[in-house]
């Protein structure tokens, strides 16, 4: 009898997690949330997007990388429903800027989707050039998206020249998308940051696209953190990265919030990318070479012996980082301590960078720089 129960234990464990997700989904998002959960669950069981545990730095279980695809499917379901159902829609308004913006986002999503469904079909260099071209053309034909100043004296001299501003913004957008892809290494890390950023954008603008994305990202965050079986994949990290980069840039260009505020909200991916590139350059490696020396890898090694479940230590890693980076900004924003147009947010960013460096150097190196080239298809 006992052996039968033991055999069923993994099943019971998974059922327990699924029940928790269902309850949270219903509490947070009602039957809409249940619908989003069912779509995500069914996509997570597909064999096509299965990722082996060895291909990720932290995850110890086989997971699906179709999280981004699930986000796209449910987002479109919500948006089409909002546009089509009822005689009045929920504030959807078409604008030429947004047509260009969403075309670029869709291109990034497609690039990621190709990689998720057929790994290594497109080389990393091809994807990089494709993103550079997409954002280059987008920002060239939509000059209203390029800020004329960002509140930093030296940088403002560069931004005063439109061609330099365009080039810098293009590089920033592509670099940021790659940073998001890199930050998608622990449960709830990038989904947590994305949920917070999209939540702030929704509170500021109240546009339907952000509303639908907030609902979908929140549901994905719950699923990702509790089950640990669903990753954003390239579709999700490229797509959400492009959404955040484009909307952030637009907000800064329109003067709705300061560049410091966006930089502070997105401090983890940005600082992590810079530190990783410097670390690799100091070792004489290519700055784009993937490795396991990130802060989230180190923090996970710190958490691992403290929790019995590997999923909990993984999720705790992601949630801790997302809370102490974007979460702190959300708290300051909601409390109204700083105006979102204030350049004092650069001080918050500096404090976050200092905190990052202190924690980074205090934590033991997670593991000797095990190359994940094979996982990333660079060998």
């Amino acid at each position: 009898m006992l052996s039968v129960v033991r055999q069923q234990l993994p099943g019971i464990n998974i059922m327990y997690k699924l029940v928790m997700i269902v309850l949270l989904a219903f509490l947070m998002l009602g039957i809409t949330g249940l619908g989003v959960f069912i779509v995500m669950y069914s996509l997570s069981t597909m064999r096509i997007g299965l990722d082996l545990a060895a291909s990720h730095g932290i995850s110890a279980i086989n997971s699906s990388r179709l999280g981004g695809v699930a986000i796209v499917v449910t987002f479109l379901g919500l948006l089409i429903g909002m546009a089509m159902l009822g005689p009045y829609n929920l504030g959807i308004l078409w604008d030429a800027t947004f047509l260009n913006l969403w075309s670029t986002i869709i291109l990034c999503v497609l690039l990621g989707a190709v990689e998720d469904f057929r790994a290594d079909l497109l080389s990393p260099h091809f994807r990089l050039v494709a993103k550079l071209l997409a954002f280059g053309i987008f920002l060239w034909v939509t000059p209203a998206m390029v800020p004329q100043s960002i509140g930093v004296p030296l940088m403002d001299c560069i931004f005063a020249e439109p061609a330099f501003a365009w080039a810098l913004c293009t590089l920033f957008c592509v670099g940021f998308i790659n940073a998001c892809n890199m930050a998608d290494g622990a449960n709830g890390l990038f989904p947590g940051i994305a949920t917070i950023v999209i939540g702030v954008l929704f509170l500021e603008y109240g546009r339907p696209a952000e509303g639908a994305l907030l609902v979908v990202c929140l549901m994905f965050l719950i699923f990702n953190v509790i089950s640990g079986r669903f990753f954003l994949g390239d579709t999700g990290s490229y797509g959400l990265g492009a959404v955040i980069a484009c909307y952030g840039l637009l907000g800064v260009a329109q003067g709705d919030f300061s560049a410091g505020f966006m930089a502070s909200l997105l401090s983890y991916p940005c600082v992590e990318l810079l530190v990783s590139m410097i670390r690799r350059a100091r070792k004489g490696q290519s700055p784009l070479r993937p490795d396991n020396g990130h802060l989230h890898n180190r923090l996970h090694k710190f958490y691992e012996p403290k929790f019995k479940s590997r999923v909990i230590s993984n999720s705790m890693t992601g949630l801790t980082i997302s809370f102490f980076s974007s979460g702190v900004c959300l708290v300051i924003y909601l409390s109204g301590l700083l105006s979102i147009r204030s350049n004092a947010w650069f001080c918050v960013l500096a404090l976050q960078a200092v905190l990052y460096l202190i924690v980074y150097y205090r934590l033991k190196r997670a593991e000797p720089e095990v190359s994940t080239d094979a996982a990333f298809g660079l060998t």
């Binding site: 998002l29 619908g35 379901g77 509303g211």
Partner: protein, 93 residues
């Protein structure tokens, strides 16, 4: 129909059901003259069942924003600040 398609269909139907309920709410808000009766009833049982705590708040915010830019199908867009807005290149239908 295989199991995967069935689950996907059920999920999408639930999403559409939830959004349909929220769209009806937006209609009620406009019919009521945007008097706040719909927007303020965030925690009514029906709304919580449809959209939950977060979804209900999101819906209220969307309706509030939509009150300023009401886009009605088969009709000309009316707006409280029509002069200040960029003209849309496409209005629904």
């Amino acid at each position: 129909m295989n199991q995967f398609s069935f689950k996907l269909l059920v999920g999408l139907l639930l999403i559409v059901g939830g959004v349909n309920g929220l769209s009806s709410m937006a209609t009620r808000a406009v019919v009521a003259g945007c008097d706040g009766s719909v927007v303020n009833s965030v925690y009514s049982a029906k709304r919580l069942a449809l959209a939950g705590i977060v979804g209900s708040n999101v819906a209220s915010r969307l309706i509030q924003c939509g009150e300023n830019i009401i886009v009605r199908d088969n009709a000309v867009r009316s707006s409280r600040q029509a002069q200040d807005q960029t003209p849309p290149f496409k209005v629904d239908k």
